[in-house]
Amino acid sequence: MIAHAIFFYTFSIIAVVSAIMVTASKNTVHSVFFLILDFISISCLFIMIGAEFLGMIMLIVYVGAVAVLFLFVVMMLNVAQQKNQWFAGEQSSRHIPVGLIISTLIFFEIIIVIGGWKYKPEIFDINNSIAQTSISNTHSLGQILYTDYIHVFQISGMILLVAMVGAIVLTFRQRSGLKRQSYIKQISRERAEGVEVLEVQSNKGVKIDD
């Protein structure tokens, strides 16, 4: 049990500290790296409570794909040297009240959820089928997700698809005058179309490209 506690506190302290460092570090790229560290330690916490499937999916989806794209964008935008001025800049101070309101709202939401879960567990209608210990948690997750909650699951997939299509539609623009490469054309070119052997008379030259 002691070892369990030690590991739990190590990972949770790393998670909290790196979450703070995401907002506190001056360098944007460093922020993304701290975010990755945060994801990794949270997936470790998932594994510790026995949700190994969730932990691994967290690693694959968030760290392996989403954070790579974050990093990609942050590096490309060249905001690495931007200074994060804490409550100092005149422009940024206008956003502080909004941010504070939203963060207090989220804070109280978390308190309500956790408090309710702790002191009034009967409020939350937890399906009994979740707590099957005989099968691995990948199996039980699949059995619930693809049967009872199939519509919610499908709808969330659709929402992601809509977001993706929306992003493509927003950034897509038709450009004219582009030279596109057609692989079929390139491969099926014959020697006769590309090469021509000419007898060049001296001092006359030859005209090409006409």
Partner: protein
């Protein structure tokens, strides 16, 4: 005291796994160069030791004694972390590789997901190295590799789903045991080919070695690295290649199982079979390096997204429908 003995036991096991892996990485570098040389009718490294076997050790010694240069304008912490991350990720993945039904360091339920996750984290070593160098060519190399590895991961993931449909478990040992009657390379042969090519792209091997393309990017993300740090990138890369070969052997070639289930073959321990299968795949890797020219970047992206992804997704539908129609789905 009890904890300590457990810890020592585990450390002993880990060393027993890691030391052979590191030695075989050194050997595999030699093998790679030899195969490459033989294809081109050269001799390759054949001076140091018998058949040049100790060439990699000599190289390692050279790297150790070289000076480590850290560029003054680089981001020093991340610059130093990058090769460490590459090396660590390449080594921790070996924890779940089963060498026989019982010889596995961590027999976890989600073994294949763990392997997939670790191999998808491998891109960070390269991005960190490329960005922290604070130089144009490494950065271009890092950007290329980020895009390339994310793209090919997708098709590898879908191929893994194909195999998992036939197995019904994420445990690597279960995947091996499910191939008792027939290796998955036979029913899923197109997937094996795509997996092999995607593994080449995932490990930045030729013909997909655009992140380091020495002709245009002067070795890409590792331009600024020298000495032992460069050697660590190099070792990590080869450890990753070995890992991909092991993954291919486990997913498609029956892992530690003997090819024929008859008496004299079953006597040979599973680890030997696994190593032979890894070697077979690795020699294929080395041959590909010697034979094919490098891809152009847009062709690489096209191959990943427009050819491999639709093909492997279609194959998922095919496999699933076949298994469903003939009531072969592994249900428990």
């Amino acid at each position: 005291m009890e904890y300590l003995s457990i810890v020592f036991q585990e450390v002993y096991k880990i060393l027993f796994l890691l030391v052979p892996v590191l030695v075989s990485v050194a050997m595999i570098v030699w093998l790679d160069r030899r195969v490459w040389a033989f294809v081109q009718k050269r001799q390759g490294p054949n001076v140091v030791g018998p058949f040049g076997l100790l060439q990699s050790l000599a190289d390692a010694l050279k790297y150790i004694f070289k000076e480590i240069i850290i560029p003054s304008s680089s981001n020093k912490v991340i610059f130093i972390l990058a090769p460490i991350v590459t090396m660590t990720l390449a080594l921790i993945a070996w924890a779940v590789i089963p060498f026989s039904a019982t010889q596995v360091l961590a027999d976890i339920n989600v073994g294949i997901l763990y392997l997939f996750a670790v191999s998808s984290l491998g891109v960070y070593g390269i991005i960190m190295g490329g960005w922290a160098s604070n130089s144009k060519y490494p950065f271009l190399g890092a950007i290329r590799s980020a895009a390339q590895m994310v793209s090919y991961e997708v098709s590898i993931g879908v191929i893994i789903i194909n195999v998992l449909l036939c197995v019904g478990s994420l445990n690597l040992n279960d995947i091996v045991i499910a191939q008792q009657n027939m290796w998955f390379v036979i029913p899923l042969f197109p997937m094996f080919v795509i997996f092999f090519i995607s593994a080449l792209a995932e490990t930045n091997r030729p013909p997909f070695d655009l992140p380091e393309a020495e002709a245009e990017l002067v070795a890409g993300y590792q331009t600024e690295y020298s000495g032992m740090m460069y050697a660590m990138f190099w070792l990590g890369e080869y450890a990753n290649i070995l890992l991909m070969c092991a993954m291919g052997a486990i997913l498609f070639l029956g892992g530690w199982m003997s090819p024929i289930d008859v008496y004299p073959f079953t006597l040979i321990p599973g680890a030997i079979w696994l190593i032979l299968k890894i070697l077979l795949l690795f020699i294929l890797f080395a041959l590909v390096k010697a034979i094919v020219p490098r891809y152009r970047y847009d062709q690489l992206m096209r191959l990943g997204w427009k050819v491999f992804l639709p093909l492997s997704l279609t194959w998922v539908v095919l496999t699933a429908s076949y298994l469903f129609y003939f009531k072969l789905l592994p249900v428990n």
